[in-house]
């Protein structure tokens, strides 16, 4: 009997329903395509777009008329330390203003000045005030505008709890995708001419040291690799320096970080040493995000961390009234977004808190061109799941605008492609073979549990592939991850119920995560220099002679191949600045 119970047909399948995906679906609909907008979780309640609090950088030039897309382009190229794809960056900065106006027309709000122009704020890495925002909840406005607009379009079908698992490719062309309907536990065959991958980052590889949503397990990265697409810049993961690690209730809370840079917070290791003096004796705790994160990670990984794997952040040396006055200003009653420090047993007037860097944004991802094409016909990708805009490091506020620009392009191009093509029929044998693999963990009666594999991988990623790297550790990490990946083909899921089977879902996620984690470790091993978010203790300098290249990853059978591709300096050369 066939393992496929349900078949559906569409022109465009968008995988991921948030900032990128919803925008893509709207544009595909503008071009007349029947569109499915799929989310592993809930539309408007998954991914990280809605979590983004503040900055969305766009060169409107409303605060400073000297600003324009070319200036934004330059800052983005330099912020990415010349590894970004300059053609993509130009498309991005030129289209961003119009895309934000689209979003406004869908119903998103932004803070405006009295003359009706956008309030624009200067962010680090930008030379002009460029960030538009809505209070401290910009991402929620994205959600509101996009949900409104999708709701107005009956030809966009929203599929929730719909976990897309694999792509079907027939002679180099997309013919469909396989998904797990989490509610019923049925495998679904989606026959489609075009697929847009819009699933965001992969910060779950570092959990619990992640401030992002649990949905981001690298599924699309792995699907793209298996389908024959290329990934790049995987060695670059951006960390947010100070998130809480204890108590568990407050794990990942990052707003507390402002105690460091705004309220004179001091950082100590377990021996009570203000360790920043070893890393940046001049600026100490006020050093740059990169350096502070790296210093903290070094202390933790080398065994000088706190009981729960952080370092101490302390403002208790200040008078209680100073701390209270600061708190009253930014988190009244020691409470923020419903998290109350005092109720959770944390009194920052008396005690230091335990903090560690948190994985926050993935610069690396699927290789695309200006049309969001991946090299496989009918397969497109956009948003954080791709690489190219941010190079070796993302400057603040560039993600929210990027996802609108490329979401729209992917939607248009995919719809036009699907409209012109005769659909190719998915190959039955391929479908059955893939389904059997997806069902295997459920049908197996003995084998390994995914928990251990996932935890081990996350621990390896944090300690050896995180902020502080060296060749020896990366070799070991890559080998260990290969072995975990091999073991993951023997995962057995204890819960045999089909409906709402979280264990099955997480087991399949773990397989994806392990493939991407290994690709990341091997990419980091390959790049023998320090640049942007990639720090090699054994190669502590930036090396423009050899490493102005992108590291690229592909999959051949079960083997990951890591190579390099040249960077084209289409508009700006490193020697020009």
């Amino acid at each position: 009997m066939s393992n496929i119970v349900t078949q559906i047909e569409t022109d465009v399948l968008v995988v991921g329903s948030e900032g990128t995906g919803a925008r893509a679906a709207i544009e595909a609909d503008n071009y007349g395509a029947r569109t499915i907008l799929a989310s592993k979780g809930i539309f408007g309640g998954s991914g990280v777009t809605l979590m983004a609090p503040y900055s969305c950088c766009v060169a409107f030039g409303h605060e400073d008329p000297r600003d324009n897309p070319r200036e934004h382009e330059k800052d983005t190229i330099m912020g990415g330390q010349f590894l970004g794809n300059q053609r993509l960056i130009r498309v991005y900065t030129e289209n961003a203003p119009q895309r934000m106006l689209d979003l406004e027309s869908y119903g998103a709000r932004f803070n405006k000045k009295e003359d009706g122009k956008f309030e624009q704020v200067l962010m680090p890495g930008h030379r002009f005030p460029r960030a538009i925002h809505y209070k401290f909840a910009t991402g929620k406005q994205f959600r509101k505008g996009l949900m409104n607009e999708v709701g107005r379009r009956p030809n966009i079908k929203v599929y929730e709890d719909f976990f897309v698992l694999d792509l079907l490719v027939e002679s180099g062309k997309i013919s469909g995708a396989l998904a797990l309907d989490l509610r019923t536990g049925e495998l679904v065959l989606v026959k489609t001419g075009a697929v847009i991958l819009a699933t965001g980052g992969a910060m779950e590889m570092f959990y619990p040291r992640s401030d992002a949503s649990c949905d981001l397990t690298g599924d699309s990265h792995a699907m793209a690799l298996r389908a024959g697409a290329q990934l790049r810049d995987l060695e670059f993961m951006q960390f947010f320096p100070t998130g809480m690690v204890h108590p568990p209730a407050l794990n990942g809370v990052i707003w507390i970080g402002q105690l460091r840079y705004k309220c004179g917070g001091l950082l100590y290791n377990r021996y009570g040493e203000r360790f920043m003096k070893k890393y940046d004796p001049v600026n100490m705790e006020l050093s740059t995000r990169d350096l502070v994160s790296r210093a903290m990670a070094t202390e933790i990984i080398e065994g000088r961390g706190t009981p729960h794997g952080g370092v101490w952040l302390d403002v208790s040396y200040l008078g209680d009234n100073i701390v209270e006055a600061y708190a009253a200003e930014v988190f009244p009653n020691f409470s923020f977004r419903g998290y109350n420090l005092l109720e959770a047993g944390v009194d920052i007037r008396k005690d230091a808190i335990e903090v560690a860097p948190m994985a926050h944004f993935y610069m690396g991802g699927i290789t695309i061109n200006e049309f969001c094409e991946t090299g496989i016909e009918g397969l497109y990708a956009a948003g954080e799941v791709t690489a190219g805009i941010n190079g070796a490091n993302r400057i603040e506020g560039n993600a929210l605008s990027e996802i609108q620009v490329f979401g729209a392009i992917a939607g248009q191009v995919a719809a036009q492609y699907a409209g012109q093509q005769a659909k190719s029929e998915p190959n039955r044998e391929q479908v059955e073979e893939k389904c059997a693999a997806l069902l295997a963990p459920l049908e197996r009666n003995e084998g390994v549990s995914y928990f251990g594999l996932r935890r081990q991988a996350q621990e390896i990623m944090w300690t050896q592939v995180g902020l502080v790297r060296d060749g020896e550790k990366l070799e070991k990490a890559a080998a260990a991850l290969t072995s975990l990946r091999e073991q993951s083909s023997r995962i057995c899921v204890r819960n045999k119920t089909r409906e709402c089977n979280r264990e099955w879902m997480e087991a399949l996620e773990t397989q994806n995560m392990l493939l991407l984690a290994e690709a990341m470790a091997r990419s980091a091993l390959y790049r023998k220099e320090t640049r942007g978010a990639h720090y090699r203790r054994d190669y502590p300098e930036k090396n423009n002679d050899q490493w102005l290249v992108n590291v690229v990853a592909t999959l051949e059978g079960e083997k990951l191949n890591i190579n390099q591709a040249p960077v084209e300096f289409t508009y700006l050369k490193p020697e020009e600045v």
Partner: protein, 112 residues
């Protein structure tokens, strides 16, 4: 904080596909101090029963999908601190898909 304090938890279970009616599972000795209700569910899921169905995403009080009922009141489980005695049930007025997983297509705003 004493390390020993442990909670007693009663969790609503129901799979409309197979169960004639809902029932409750009870667990004793669950660590709860400094943890959220969601932390407790993850603990029960991992240590006791991987068939427990529940939702979460952002873990940061923003997405609202971890909504459920604790001791009779709707709360966001990722920000509500766990208590010593807890009855955990699906969110009020929502159709149960399985256990604590409900149909969220009618959006509700967070109460807590």
């Amino acid at each position: 904080m004493s390390e020993q304090a442990l909670a007693k938890v009663k969790i609503y279970r129901y799979n409309p596909k197979v169960d004639r009616e809902p029932y409750y599972d009870e667990y004793d000795g669950i660590p709860f101090e400094g943890r959220t209700v969601l932390d407790v569910l993850k603990y029960v899921y991992e240590k006791h029963d991987t068939s427990l169905a529940f939702r979460y995403s952002c873990r940061g009080g923003l997405c609202n999908v971890c909504l459920l009922m604790l001791n009779g009141k709707n709360v966001m489980s990722c920000k509500k601190l766990a208590e010593k005695e807890m009855i955990i049930e699906p969110a009020k007025n929502k159709k149960v898909i399985k256990d604590l997983m409900v149909d969220l297509s009618e959006k509700v705003e967070a109460g807590v």
